[in-house]
Structure formats: C-alpha cells, structure tokens
C-alpha cells in the first residue's frame, strides 16, 4: 500500500510545483485577522467538503457499493439548515435537524441496497434525482440567504486553520480510528471482497451495508453544511452538483478499487487534495475556461498512469 501512495503524493507535489513556478507567491501564507491566509489554506478549505464526502464514499465503495446521492443529500442539508435559520430558528437546532434528516436518507439508501437488493448505483440514483427536488421543495427554488455568525463558522470560520478542514480531518481521524480499533474495517472489507463467504462466516452484511450508507449520508450532510455555510446561502440546485463524481474520483485516485474490498483512507485524503489542487491550479495559473477540461483530463490520465498497477508490478519484477 505504501508504494501505491507514493505516486499520488508525487502527483500532488508536481501540481504544487507547477503553481509555484507560475505564481511564485503560491506558498506564501500570512496571518490575516487572526487566521491563516493563502492559497494552500484555500485548497484545504475548499477541499474539505470533497474530502468528507470521499471518506463516506470510500467505505461505501469498500463494500462494493457506490453512492450517487451524496450531492443531493448535501443540498438537502444546506436547504434544511438555511430555511430553518431564515425562519428564525437556532442554527444549532437547524444543523441538528439537517443531520437527522440526512441520516434518515442514508437509512433509506441502505434499505434499498441491503434489504431490497437493488444495485447500489440505481438505488442511489433515485435519491440523486429526487433529493435535489426535495431540496428545491424546501427552498422553493430560491437561494436562501442567511446571516448567522454561528453558522458561518462551519464553512468559512477559522480556528487558525479553516474549521471546515479541521472537521474533515477530525472525521478522517475518527474513521481511521474506528475502522482500525474496532473490527468494522475488517468486516467492511470482507463483505466487499466476498459477500457469499462473509455471509457463511456469520458477518452481518446487512448491518454493515446499512452503516456505511448512513455514514456516507452523514458525511454528505456535514459537507453540505460547509458548502452552504461558506457562502451563507443554500442553493438547492447547484450545491454539491457533481460532487459525487469528484468524491468517487478522489477515492479511485487514492488507490481504492471500485470492485470493493481493500481501501485506503490516506489514499482518499490524497485524492481529494489532488482534485482540489487541480481546480485551484486552473484558476491560479489562468487556464482559459475553454481548455480547462482538457487540462484536467491530461492531469487525471497522468496521475493514473503513474500509479498504474502494471507499472508497480513491473518494478517488482512481475509483469502483468
């Protein structure tokens, strides 16, 4: 696993170097109004939601699943919170409500996948479509702007470092701890690698699957709070749009296979950072919007060729 992570790290370093070459001040960080200010900090803060969602996605993918609904769930979380605050509610209550509702949505996904046995991609596609509708229903299609200093902290606040990244890293730490210190990681992987064998060994596959979908939905919810809090507004239509793709990409770049089984949280962290750095790079080095996508395509291909399993096998003397 260590070897595999080497390449994403190199890719990240390469991107950063590219930035410094074009914008020499890229690494400069200064203290501004009591918090750190600089491009690297932006990358961390803006990458926090993707990282968070990718963490949930990693566990889902490890069980051979996939969750397309995370973007919609994020939008719902933002919508619920903002409408509640806009109606004069307490921000904490509002956020609690959003998290509770999203946990329910996770249960729903888990139900479709583990009880009804619907293929995950389709099961979550249902909520991906309907979820955005629900979010818009809540906001009535308007962008709900709120003015709550408390709520602002989640996405735009700082405790020296951006609070958003602190939350995401805390969740990363928590997941790492929980999956390593308990047997959750082992059971998730065994369900992902061989569901039939796991069933016969007595693993509660259903509970495991349920857990990961709820966890993914909760991660999406918190990410949704960050996204909406960052601009103090809930945009039901655009919040978290296509973020599921970014999250899956982050997981895959991090070396976790979509076929389920072994996963790497560190890999996911790197993947999310690479994706956000890539986005920021596009803005910073002034790539024209028309060729942005071509640039991204080239980088993605380069990253995955660098870490291609075949290369690694060649290095170790065992060709395909």
């Amino acid at each position: 696993m260590k070897n595999r992570l080497l390449w994403p790290v190199l890719a990240l370093v390469a991107l950063l170097i590219l930035n410094v070459v074009v914008t020499p001040s890229f690494f400069s960080i200064r203290l501004q109004d009591g918090h750190l200010y600089g491009s690297l900090i932006d990358i961390l803060r803006n990458g926090a939601p993707t990282l968070l969602i990718a963490l949930g996605m990693t566990l889902v993918i490890a069980t051979r699943g996939i969750d397309l609904s995370v973007g919609a769930v994020a939008a719902i979380a933002g919508a619920v919170t903002c409408t509640h605050i806009a109606a004069g509610g307490n921000p904490w209550v509002a956020m609690g409500l959003a998290l509770a509702l999203c946990a329910l949505l996770g249960l729903w996904n888990g139900f479709l996948v583990s009880v009804l046995g619907i293929q995950p991609i389709i099961a979550t596609l249902v909520l991906m479509t309907a979820g955005r509708g629900i979010a818009m229903l809540i906001t009535e299609g308007q962008i709900v702007t709120v003015d709550s200093p408390t709520y602002r902290q989640v996405g735009a606040g700082f405790l020296v470092l951006p609070i958003a990244i602190l939350i995401s890293l805390a969740v990363l730490g928590l997941v790492a701890l929980v999956t390593r210190r308990t047997a959750l990681g082992l059971l998730i992987e065994s369900v992902g690698v061989n569901p039939a064998a796991s069933r016969l060994a007595g693993v509660r596959a259903r509970t495991i699957i349920w857990t990961v979908y709820v966890f993914a939905a909760l991660c999406a919810a918190v990410a949704g709070l960050m996204i909406s809090s960052n601009v103090s507004a809930a945009d039901a239509n655009n919040a978290g749009l296509w973020i599921e793709m970014d999250a899956i990409l982050a997981v895959v770049i991090g070396g976790t296979s979509l076929a389920g089984g072994r996963y790497s949280l560190t890999g996911t962290l790197l993947g999310a950072l690479i994706i956000q750095t890539l986005t920021t790079t596009v803005y910073t080095i002034g790539i024209a919007p028309e060729i942005t996508l071509v640039f991204k395509a080239v980088v993605v291909i380069a990253v995955c060729l660098m870490q291609a399993p075949v290369r690694i096998r060649v290095r170790q003397g065992v060709p395909a």
């Binding site: 479509t129 996508l293 395509a297 399993p309």
Partner: protein, 338 residues
C-alpha cells in the same frame, strides 16, 4: 453485488434421468421480462390516466425521442457486460455533434463528416480501452478522463452552438417514415433499431460476444480458458465509442446543431437504462434487449411527466425519482416471486 448466495439448479438432472422436457423460462431472462412487464403496465396506467396516451404515435415518439439513447445504451451494455463502465459517452455525443456541425459548416461533404465522427468516437474508445487494458487502470477513472477530454475538445472547437444547415442532414432529420396506422417514425429510429439488431447478433452469435460474457463472468477464468480477453476488453470500449459517436450523429440529427453542452449527464441515463434493463454492473449478466426496454422505461417516465403537465420544477425531479424507484422495486418483486 451478486446478492443470492445459493443459486437453485435450473433443471434437476439425476444421472439416470435424461434431460427434462418441460420448457421453463430460464432465470437469467427474468429481469428483462420483469422490466418489460413493468414497462407495459406503466404504459397501461398512463393510457387509463391520460387521454391520448395510448396512441401509436406516443409509442413511436418514445423511440423517436430516445433513438440516440438506445444506441448509447447498446454500447454501454457491452462495456457493462465485461464488468467495466464508460463515463465518456455523454461527452462523446457532444463532441460528435460539435465535429459534425462545424465540419458541415466548413463545407465538408456529409459522408465524410459521418465517417470522421464515427472514426473519432471509435478512436477515443480504442485509446481508453488500451489504457485500461495495458496499464490495468480502473475503467471509471480512464473514462472519466475521456469524458473531460471530449467535453474539453468541444469547447476548443467552439464555445458557441453551431447549427447544421447541410441539406442532406436536414433531409434525414426532418424526413419521416409512415408506418401502418398513420404512425410516423424518423430515420434515426431505424438506425437505432439496426444498431440494436447488430448488437444482439454480435453478443449472442459470435465468439466475440460470448467472450464478452465470459470476461464479465470471470476475467481470470476467461484468460485461463485461453480466450481472447485482450481483444474483448479493448473491443468493448471501441464499440461503446462507436455507439457514442453514432448516438452523437443521431443527436445532431435530432437537434440539427452542435453544442458543447449537449448531452450533459447522459452517461448516467445510459448506465441507468442498462441497469434498469437487468444487467449487473459487476458484469456477465444482461441483455441488449433489456437495455432497450430500460431506455423505454426512462422515456416513459419523461412522457408521463409531460402528460401530467403542471408539475413544478422540484416535483418533476421528485416524481422522476419516485417513478424510477417504483419501476425497479416492482421489477425486484417480480424477479423474486418467480
């Protein structure tokens, strides 16, 4: 993703007894049949509920409006059957419309445009398939890069939309074929159906097709069995690229324009159609016909929405989701009961 651990023997053969004579529907056809039954049922519900729903033309429109999606789903079926996925199809559709429109605008002859577009799509598919096979990179990531690339190339060609004024294209686009009963269809539908037939032939009656299923069932076994897995693994992406380009041509007939934002997210529609049609994303299980029915199901959902008439934007989304759920839940129930 294969849920059932125990698979019932399809026919109980005992050494002494010869093969049973009773013809039963084999289990693997069930999802397709279930999808079809649900499709028919929904159409029935629509007919009762909405005036003018149960007309031949509404049915024909289902094909007219989804001809390109049918072609995409056909290509996607090949890929999914091998256990892969192709996220680039939507963008390749856009790129195809863009190439077609701008080449026609530049005065290329129509036939050359068609050939160019098909070659470009297949070429991109070949490149993606090669990377997937040669470097063992996951299809998801490679085709995602392909998706960025194709969409990016659209913008490079032109940010603005380009309309197609070529008479041959217009002729094809506006021309219609009259069927008995006053129902008309477009040439696009005919092309799509030909593509479906070709796909069925290739999948079921050629070695290439059977190897597609074998690779999806177990790639390592297929390799150990000495099958041409390399050719198949790359081939399916070429087919999918070709189908995307063909779908792109149909789409440019449908729209008579090339635009870089055409077909955004259409890859998901194509994947959804294939999966609704009973294919397993893990590979090895599924039928082209199922994917076609899957497209019709998605089309029917659209039609129902438009017949309902006055749904607000958000209810539209919610109802689409709910109908999709109803479809697959019903399909599951039918498959389980039998």
């Amino acid at each position: 993703m294969k849920q059932s651990v125990v698979v019932e023997p399809e026919s109980v053969a005992v050494p002494s007894r010869a093969r049973g004579g009773l013809v039963r529907v084999p289990k693997r056809f069930l999802p397709v049949i279930a999808t079809f039954v649900v499709f028919v049922a929904t159409f029935g519900v629509g007919s009762v509920r909405y005036e003018g729903f149960a007309s031949g033309q509404v049915m024909a429109n289902l094909f007219i409006d989804n001809a390109f999606l049918i072609v995409l789903a056909v290509g996607m079926t090949f890929v999914i059957l091998t256990g892969g996925i192709d996220l680039s199809v939507g963008s390749v559709v856009a790129l195809s419309t863009m190439i077609a429109a701008s080449a026609l605008q530049a005065g290329w002859p129509a036939w050359l445009v068609v050939v160019t577009v098909l070659a470009a799509g297949s070429g991109l598919g070949l490149a993606m398939g090669w990377v997937i096979h040669r470097f063992g990179v996951q299809p998801f990531i490679v085709t995602l890069a392909g998706m960025f690339l194709a969409r990016g190339l659209c913008f490079v060609i032109s940010v603005e939309s380009v309309s197609i004024k070529d008479p041959a294209f217009r002729e094809l686009a506006t021309g219609s074929i009259e069927l008995p009963g006053g129902v008309t269809i477009t040439y696009g539908v005919v092309i799509a159906l030909v593509a479906v037939l070709a796909a069925v032939y290739v999948l079921h009656l050629t070695r290439f097709g059977r190897t597609v299923y074998a690779v999806g069932g177990s790639e390592s076994s297929a390799r150990l069995m000495g099958l041409a897995t390399t050719r198949v693994k790359i081939g399916v992406y070429v087919i999918s690229g070709f189908c995307s380009a063909l779908g792109g041509l149909l789409f440019s007939l449908y729209m008579l324009s090339g635009y870089s934002l055409h077909a955004v997210g259409m890859e998901l529609d194509a994947i959804a159609a294939v999966v609704v049609g009973g294919s397993l994303l893990s590979g090895g299980v599924g039928f082209v016909i199922g994917s076609v029915v899957g497209v019709l199901v998605l089309g029917t959902i659209q039609t129902l929405i438009s017949f309902e008439g006055t749904l607000s934007s958000w209810w539209t989304k919610i109802v689409i989701g709910a109908l999709l759920l109803a479809f697959i839940a019903l399909q599951r129930i039918i498959v389980r009961k039998t």
